[in-house]
Symmetry: C2
Subunit: 327 residues, 2 copies
């Protein structure tokens, strides 16, 4: 079985790769557990290949048609399409966002279609597809109404993956990821970057800025649970997805104030000295437009789970990242 | 004021052009009634120029970037983007539908953006953006859930027009047209073509096939009311559209049985001998997935109106087309 991960050098891509290599097998389109013989990691920078002969790292531009044709060859069984320009950057550079979040997605879908083998295609989408006047609890049937370029691009990707699946070109699965927290490493240009920073930086003895009011509610998922959901989303039988390929993953609805209380419980009062409030109108506007509560009954019925509470999300970060170090 | 109509040789494009020429003025982006000095009609075939010096007919491929740049020059104030591959054809030829319904829309939007003048951009969308499990009455907040390639392409167009408007690249308006009936001329490849054919053909003494059961409900708008809505949609102040650029136009919810009863009332029992039932599973599947009842309170609040009843739709066809002849 031949698997491709775009954004394969990113932190989710790297963790997903390691997990797939550890498992050794994935369920193929015929529903059989098959040995993973090849795992291609595509990204703009070289991915860690874990010294594993199954891994091939390809460095290049995912919006380059020639590169996409090279990577998605006739043998590909599964594509995890994680590569994206994050929300803040897609807002700052409209053309770059269109190129990577929309054009590259379409190129990948076309390459999958070209071979006529209907590969599995796992596309990560986002809470940013919603906005405007929202119901208290977002349902599966709530209208796409993005209020950012990133959200629009992800919404278009969702429509494409659903349609390419309906036509039988791919076997697609759209997983709407909650905001990932605690993300390891450095702050990025996502509007939601602070949702990791306000926990990660204090735990590392560094200062962090909280740009939104404490009552702001977020919809969160730990990296551990995200990787489990990506794999589970891949393994699901296509028959369960006939009505829609798009699944709202179960997150945890937590306010910023509750996150900080959890941080204090897990790491002690002392860490709070690293936190400073400084409101940022742009971040507040983008994040404030995202819904904070969801009906995830369909995801749960399909066997997709989230995290128990935010304390355990912090503890998972400490175990997986702070104590173990970089992947 | 310089106006462009894509699909300008089509029947809606031609009627819209004649109406704009008759009016002589349209409301520009600054809210002022301005003289229309130039009206470009773009289509794959030559448009009727009505012998009017303001009209320029451009024949070409709307998905050709060079043609789009030529047509959308720095002076353009308003674009009515009506050109499309209809539902049945977009289902039969996926690539053609993607090219015209999606790529051409994006080229036009990019050309509008390039000049930095924020032109008005009127995009016609369709009931086909909906499907799957629908509420009894479709609301403004009902989720996009297309079940056809055409519907997906229109849904993507809606998202693009909304986002390009939010970013200030255009002043967009998406008008979701009900099925147009009675459309003059010949049957086309739209799955809904019969919604005109079962009225038009009998009135012209020709035979027509009804491919769906009599209880099938349609959501209809006459050509007269459609042209009025396109113009009204253009004239609306942008301030009323901040929450969403997309408007469900008020249609008439009518069953096929009620349409045939109206035909008999208006034209006499004799015409019914031209009607034959022959079910078509593809048409039934596509049309059966469209919603038949809508909440159009927002459109009505904005001053957009539909037709009074189906009898008057038939009488309008007789006056505008049967008696007057081709445009």
């Amino acid at each position: 079985m031949k698997v491709v991960i775009t954004g394969g050098a990113g932190f989710l891509g790297q963790r997903l790769a390691r997990k797939i290599l550890d498992k050794g097998r994935l369920v193929d389109s015929d529903g059989r557990a098959s040995e993973v013989t090849s795992l291609t990691l595509v990204d703009v920078v070289a991915a860690n290949d874990f010294g594993d002969p199954r891994v091939k790292s390809v460095v290049g531009d995912i919006a380059d048609a020639a590169l996409v044709r090279e990577v998605i060859d006739a043998g590909v069984d599964s594509v995890f399409h994680l590569a994206a320009i994050v929300s803040g950057q897609a807002e700052a550079d409209f053309d770059l966002g269109m190129r990577i979040n929309l054009d590259a997605t379409r190129l990948l879908l076309e390459a999958c279609r070209a071979h006529g083998r209907r590969p599995k295609f796992i596309f990560t989408s986002s809470v940013a597809v919603f906005g405007g006047q929202l119901p208290d609890v977002v349902q599966d049937t709530t209208a796409l109404n993005p209020r950012s370029s990133y959200g629009m691009q992800k919404a278009v990707g969702e429509l494409l993956v659903n349609e390419y699946s309906r036509r039988g070109f791919i076997d697609g699965r759209v997983l709407r990821l909650p905001t990932i927290s605690v993300r390891p490493g450095k702050p990025n240009k996502a509007a939601s970057s602070f949702a990791s920073g306000i926990i990660r930086e204090p735990l590392n003895g560094e200062d962090a800025i909280c740009p939104v009011p404490p009552e702001t509610r977020l919809w969160l998922l730990s990296p551990r649970a995200a990787i489990a959901a990506l794999l589970k989303g891949h393994e699901l039988a296509a028959e369960g997805l006939q009505d829609s390929r798009t699944i709202n993953l179960p997150g945890l609805s937590v306010s910023v104030a509750e996150m900080i209380e959890a941080l204090e419980r897990v790491a002690g009062e002392g860490v709070l000295k690293h936190l400073r409030r400084e409101r940022d109108a742009t971040v507040e506007r983008i994040v404030g437009g995202w819904p904070a509560a969801w009906d995830t009954s369909r995801a749960r019925a399909l066997g997709l789970a989230g995290d128990a509470d935010f304390d355990s999300i912090i503890r998972a970060y400490i175990e997986d990242d702070l104590e173990r170090g970089p992947a």
